[in-house]
């Protein structure tokens, strides 16, 4: 019997590591007649997954649907291989959630509040108290843990929300706009905590934000939503590894002629403005060759810098085209 249980637990742990963190299988959510999420498909496996999109794109609805707050109208999704409709309770034991809005239980001290949340997640009372203290120390509220939540500043409330989301040690943490309303030092602290949790390898993170910088600093994979569709899926980690750098040149002179000559060298180019062009250097082509070609074409190179496609570029492109996929 004991051996069977141990084997079952091992299988469970294996399934958690092998299965994708989130798989979307034609997931659609309608509120009344209004479609909010439309036929989302794909698999997300990253340690930290960023959900991006303009306001009303469906980021929060996607998180709420994965948490079982809204029923799927069509299709389904799976978290660690478990169906959000049929295995909702099992999924809830594996996840932690930090909501976007202020969510508290009134008249409670932080430690009392976090302990209650831990107990509701199934931790025995003593363990819940111990972990509540730990979680509050971990997020940096150790000294203020006996204070009533009503007296907390906005930044402290965000940290308390994070503490309640991680107190039971979930495998997947949903963070909905965790840096909302934070001042720069508090934001840095929050980002550091998120990265620490990600790097601990003990939990995966889904970070929903409209702040590109936050997502870029924390996430490996991003999913950009637009009007309830997946606009772009991008593995930032692979992008970074591929090190796809390009040059941005600021020139004076006949840019088209110069660009044509660069094409002759085998370089890919894109003219961005009147005096700017982006080029990807081909193997064997060096900077001095650019100056030589510029001199031949009587074009001045005023500025030259290496750049990489930033998340902002990817995001803006997605908002223009918006037909990406996994």
């Amino acid at each position: 019997m004991v051996a069977e249980l141990a084997q079952e637990e091992e299988l469970f742990a294996q399934s958690l590591t092998l299965a994708p963190v989130i798989s979307l299988d034609g997931l659609s959510v309608h509120f009344g007649e209004r479609p909010i999420l439309n036929n989302l498909q794909g698999e997300l496996r990253g340690r930290a997954i960023g959900l991006l999109g303009p306001n009303g794109a469906g980021k929060t609805t996607l998180i709420h649907t994965l948490l079982g707050f809204h029923p799927a109208s069509f299709g389904t999704a799976r978290i660690f291989g478990r169906d959000i409709t049929t295995d909702a309770n099992q999924i809830k034991t594996l996840v932690g959630y930090m909501p976007e809005r202020d969510s508290f239980i009134a008249k409670m001290s932080a430690v009392h509040f976090v302990r209650l949340m831990a107990e509701l997640s199934g931790l025995p009372s003593d363990a819940a108290l111990e972990r509540a203290h730990e979680a509050l120390f971990y997020v940096g509220l150790g000294e203020a843990r006996y204070r009533k939540l009503d007296t907390y500043s906005l930044g402290m409330k965000q940290l308390a929300k994070l503490a309640q989301a991680i107190v039971h040690g979930p495998r997947l943490i949903f963070l909905d706009e965790p840096t909302n309303g934070l001042d720069p030092p508090a934001r840095v602290r929050m980002i550091r905590l998120i990265r620490e949790i990600r790097d601990s390898g003990q939990a995966n993170i889904v970070l929903s934000s409209h702040l590109l910088r936050d997502v870029e600093e924390c996430c490996e994979e991003i999913l950009i939503l637009r009007d309830g569709h997946i606009a772009v899926y991008c593995n930032l980690e692979e992008e970074r590894k591929a090190n796809r750098k390009f040059l941005v040149l600021e020139t004076r002179g006949d840019q088209n002629k110069f660009a044509g000559a660069l094409a002759g060298l085998g370089c890919e180019y894109a003219i961005t403005t009147d005096h700017r062009l982006k080029i990807v250097l081909q193997h064997g082509v060096e900077i001095r060759d650019l100056y030589r070609v510029a001199s031949e074409q009587q074009v001045q190179i005023r500025r030259l810098s290496y750049k990489r496609d930033s998340l902002e570029d990817i995001f803006l492109k997605a908002m223009e085209n918006g037909n990406g996929g996994l």
């Binding site: 509120f31 009344g32 007649e33 209004r34 709420h64 948490l67 079982g68 707050f69 809204h70 309770n89 099992q90 809830k92 034991t93 996840v95 932690g96 959630y97 909501p99 809005r101 202020d102 969510s103 508290f104 239980i105 009134a106 008249k107 009392h112 209650l116 949340m117 107990e119 509701l120 997640s121 199934g122 931790l123 025995p124 363990a127 111990e130 972990r131 203290h133 730990e134 120390f137 971990y138 150790g142 309640q164 991680i166 039971h168 040690g169 979930p170 495998r171 949903f174 620490e196 949790i197 601990s200 003990q202 939990a203």
Partner: protein, 304 residues
């Protein structure tokens, strides 16, 4: 794991059984409820009638105490169904005031602070949440109603002897069932009101109104139409009928009026609604409360 080890770690221990988690809510709620000295004092006062009941039962069986007090046993209230019904009704009134103080903030506070997503993102269902919130009142009210009264019934049975319990076992059933129906109704009503009204004072006033406004309206209907069928909309009257039915004191015909119609004198007998109607009224009230709770207790309100 010590506090100084500030790293993220999963919980590797054994989890508590899922069925028992709804009891976490009352445990935390009582800490808050009994922080108020005024409420604690009132709660203690709720036990005074039970103490009087216990003394009366004791006196009935203690000849020497009666002799000292120079009281004849016949002068005391007889210990029978009516005796227990009187105290059940008295405790029901206390239970109502406890519900008025404790019930309204339960759900409204969570709604006001957007706390529902925090409960419901955990392995804790909406039904468990409602059950947990209701348990706050159910446990508290049980402690001042059917549990002590059942103990007093057993006390009386012990003092009276084996034959008495055999003849009066139905009284125990009436005590338990009558009280459970009442506290269940109170718990459901106060949670439903609390789920609709976000402000405690207004919620308390609304709960009071639910009992008194239909009762006043029922009396108006009764007087206008020479009937007692107006009681069908009064929760208070319905509960009285149900209690009467359980304790065997329910009478259908409760009075008559004399009416002059075209010079003809008519006597109209005033009949209470049948007992099943009173049960149906309570059942419908509970069903409406459950429907309201299921509509309001959601992680997020969806505007369609």
């Amino acid at each position: 794991m010590a506090v100084y080890e500030r790293t993220y770690k999963q919980f590797a221990g054994k989890l508590t059984p899922e069925w028992s988690r709804f009891l976490i809510i009352p445990r935390y709620a009582y800490r808050d409820v009994f922080k108020s000295k005024l409420f604690t004092a009132f709660f203690v006062v709720c036990f005074i009638p039970l103490l009087v009941e216990a003394i009366l039962i004791y006196l009935h069986h203690n000849a020497s105490a009666l002799a000292i007090m120079k009281v004849n046993v016949r002068e005391l209230l007889p210990i029978d169904g009516s005796f227990f019904q009187f105290f059940v009704n008295l405790q029901a009134a206390f239970a109502f005031f406890v519900a008025l103080l404790v019930g309204p903030p339960q759900v409204s506070r969570d709604l006001r602070n957007n706390a529902l997503p925090l409960y419901l993102c955990r392995p804790f269902s909406r039904a468990e949440y409602v059950l947990g919130k209701m348990s706050v009142l159910l446990i508290l009210l049980s402690a001042i109603t059917w549990i002590p009264q059942l103990l007093l019934f057993l006390f009386q049975a012990y003092l009276e002897g084996a034959g008495w319990i055999k003849d009066n076992l139905w009284v125990a059933g009436a005590i338990v069932l009558g009280n459970i129906v009442w506290i269940l109704l109170l718990a459901l009503l106060s949670q439903a009101v609390s789920a609709i009204v976000k402000w405690r004072v207004i919620a308390s006033a609304a709960l009071l109104g639910i009992f008194f406004i239909p009762s006043v309206f029922a009396e108006v209907v009764n007087n206008l139409f020479f009937t007692h069928w107006g009681h069908i909309i009064s929760l208070d009257a319905s509960m009285r009928s149900v209690m009467g039915g359980l304790f065997g004191t329910y009478v259908r015909s409760t009075g008559h009026v004399v009416d002059f119609d075209n010079g003809v004198v008519r006597q109209i007998v005033l009949n209470e609604p049948p007992l099943w109607c009173s049960w149906a009224t309570l059942f419908v009230a509970c069903a409406i409360c459950l429907a309201l709770l299921s509509r309001r207790v959601k992680a997020y309100e969806v505007v369609k």
